[in-house]
């Protein structure tokens, strides 16, 4: 009987740990398949051959909600997601008690208060290459690569989407359905869907706050999905 009780307690404890140590995984895709940096992809719609060399962005102010009510916010506010850094592709959502939620809220980019708060470290350290040097402000999303259609040097395109002041504020908050009962919590971003909505011929480079940066940043923010 004692052994049975101990076994039961052990089982409960394992379940509790499993509930506590959960993470949201980020999966970057290209046309539904796992994105591999520097690999060639074909976009039939545009008859274009594409390589992605950089894909980095900030996810901030993450919240889990149950019917619109916030049930959990991780202590860490800003996460730099960088496909070249596998450790960055998982957001720790560990919690002391079991979470029940049906929504996930996030902001693409860095809020204006943080933008003007001076030098900061870790994910916000300017050494990460996500802070403009010629003008103050974080780059909220950086996507770079090569397109056979680009007429730029080496057919290189670079979208550095940033800007935190009106009228060129690029941060965008979105809410998705995400069920706490799911086996895995995964946030998908298919970069091909972004490129389908950009004009790599007319505007292959954005590196300053501007209207087009706002438009593209908002497209990026809304392309995240909890379903592949």
């Amino acid at each position: 009987m004692i052994i049975r009780c101990l076994f039961f307690l052990l089982l409960c404890s394992n379940v509790a740990i499993a509930q506590k140590n959960r993470a949201l995984d980020i999966q970057l895709l290209f046309q539904g398949q796992k994105l591999v940096l520097d690999s060639s992809y074909w976009i039939a719609q545009k008859q274009d051959s594409i390589q992605i060399s950089t894909c980095k962005f900030y996810l901030s102010n993450i919240e889990l909600l149950q019917d619109g009510e916030v049930v959990f916010r991780p202590t860490k506010k800003h996460f730099l997601i960088d496909i070249s850094q596998p450790n960055s592709l998982s957001i720790d959502l560990s919690n002391k008690k079991k979470l029940v939620f049906n929504q996930f809220r996030y902001t693409l980019g860095i809020d204006s208060t943080t933008q003007v708060a001076g030098a900061m470290g870790k994910d916000l350290d300017p050494v990460n290459g996500m802070y403009w040097t010629w003008q103050s402000g974080y780059i909220n999303c950086k996507i770079e690569g090569y397109s056979s259609h680009c007429t730029t040097r080496n057919h290189f395109f670079q979208y550095h989407l940033g800007g935190y002041q009106a009228p060129f504020s690029t941060q965008k908050t979105c809410t998705l359905l995400l069920n706490s009962q799911q086996d895995q919590w995964i946030l998908y971003f298919d970069i091909a869907r972004f490129l389908e909505q950009t004009d790599l011929v007319r505007l292959p480079e954005i590196m300053s706050p501007q209207a087009e940066a706002v438009r593209l940043a908002h497209i990026v923010a809304q392309l995240f999905s909890t379903k592949p």
Binding site: Q115, V116, A117, G118, A119, M120, G121, L124, D125, P126, V127, G129, Y131, T133, W134, Q135, S136, G137, Q210
Partner: protein
């Protein structure tokens, strides 16, 4: 609780030793709570400021364009001088009383002193370096990890701590020992000529250059014709707003005599040329400052009296202050004595 109070009291004493503006200065804009001054951080920032290691080829330091003898501005060059004898697009401004600035650079591109150093370090015509590479170089240089450890409690070099240290040193560059200041403190008197110059200054200049900082640190079009080579439209480049065309940051007039040449593009070598501009050559345009719409009228004698007053803004103590000068002990001997703890000379 008592322990916390004591720590706070010690921090305040340290802070007041490093930064003690006079009572007639307004409250500073810089938020010291986010980066409280500390002598070890200030020292680290001072060493970094004078060390050319921050540039790509290790030849140009911050002090190359911001020399203490020029009130931390640049002489000889109208435009900044970078690695490989590259010439930039703007006149290196004087660095003083930076805690009162809201924005930095002639066009206001930078919004926080902590982040300002990123611009010259990475600009291809200035230091042309990258932040990750600066961090790598500093980690390899035996001098620096112990200094970062002493300043921040961690010998790991980070961009955050590098920038905070540089900001801390620059915050200590407070100029308040000019003759004007001694008059404010009632320790001295203006001569009759200086007093007359002060009256003229108050009439014609003080809206944009109000005492005691002698700048609003806002942006204005002061009627300079566009340089057709540089094609620099100032603040408009940042805001993309036509109302900001040809608006540049209003510089302080403190220590002006040490900081020639003048204006954002260093087009004037002498103060007489500056006064000639304001009295004869203002170019009207849609964004011209309203204060200059009717020009400035000054007789030859009035110009002389005005200059006599302006000379009272020179702070010789600031310019020759050994506490902010080149840290010889560290930088001249750094290869041989990487962990020097001696007095800084």
């Amino acid at each position: 609780m008592m322990c916390c109070c004591m720590v706070f009291a010690v921090a305040c004493r340290t802070m007041s030793h490093l930064f003690s503006p006079p009572s007639y200065f307004p409250p500073p804009h810089y938020d010291f709570k986010q980066n409280p001054l500390d002598k070890d951080k200030v020292l680290l920032g001072r060493i970094l400021f004078y060390d050319p290691i921050l540039s790509q080829d290790n030849t140009i330091s911050c002090a190359s364009c911001h020399s203490p003898y020029n009130s931390f501005a640049h002489t000889d060059h109208a435009l900044s001088h970078g690695i490989g004898d590259k010439i930039g697009t703007r006149n290196a401004p004087a660095l003083l009383n930076l805690a009162w600035h809201e924005r930095f650079m002639w066009d206001g591109a930078i919004h926080h002193l902590d982040m300002q150093a990123l611009a010259p370090i990475t600009h291809p015509l200035e230091m042309a370096e990258s932040m990750p590479n600066v961090v790598k170089k500093l980690e390899k240089e035996a001098l620096y990890p112990p200094l970062f450890k002493k300043a921040f409690g961690d010998s790991t070099v980070t961009g955050e701590n590098l920038l905070k240290a540089l900001a801390q040193f620059q915050l200590t560059l407070v100029s308040n020992q000019a003759k004007f200041d001694s008059v404010m403190r009632k320790q001295s008197h203006f001569t009759e000529q200086e007093q007359h110059g002060y009256v003229l200054f108050d009439q014609h200049c003080s809206t944009c250059h109000p005492p005691p900082l002698f700048s609003t640190y806002q942006f204005a079009n002061n009627g300079l014709p566009l340089d057709t080579v540089l094609k620099d439209y100032g603040k408009m480049k940042i805001t993309q707003n036509h109302a900001d065309s040809l608006l540049f940051k209003i510089p302080t007039l403190r220590n002006w005599e040490y900081t020639a040449p003048y204006m954002h593009d260093g087009r004037f070598q002498k103060i007489q040329q500056v006064l000639q501009h304001y009295t004869k050559n203002i170019q009207k345009s849609a964004t011209l400052s309203k204060e200059l719409q009717n020009g400035v009228v000054l007789s030859a004698n009035e110009k002389i009296d005005l200059i006599a007053f302006l000379l009272t803004l020179n702070d010789r103590h600031f310019v020759f202050n050994p506490a902010v000068a080149f840290p010889k002990t560290y930088l001249l001997d750094k290869k041989n004595s990487s962990s020097s703890n001696g007095e800084v000379q």
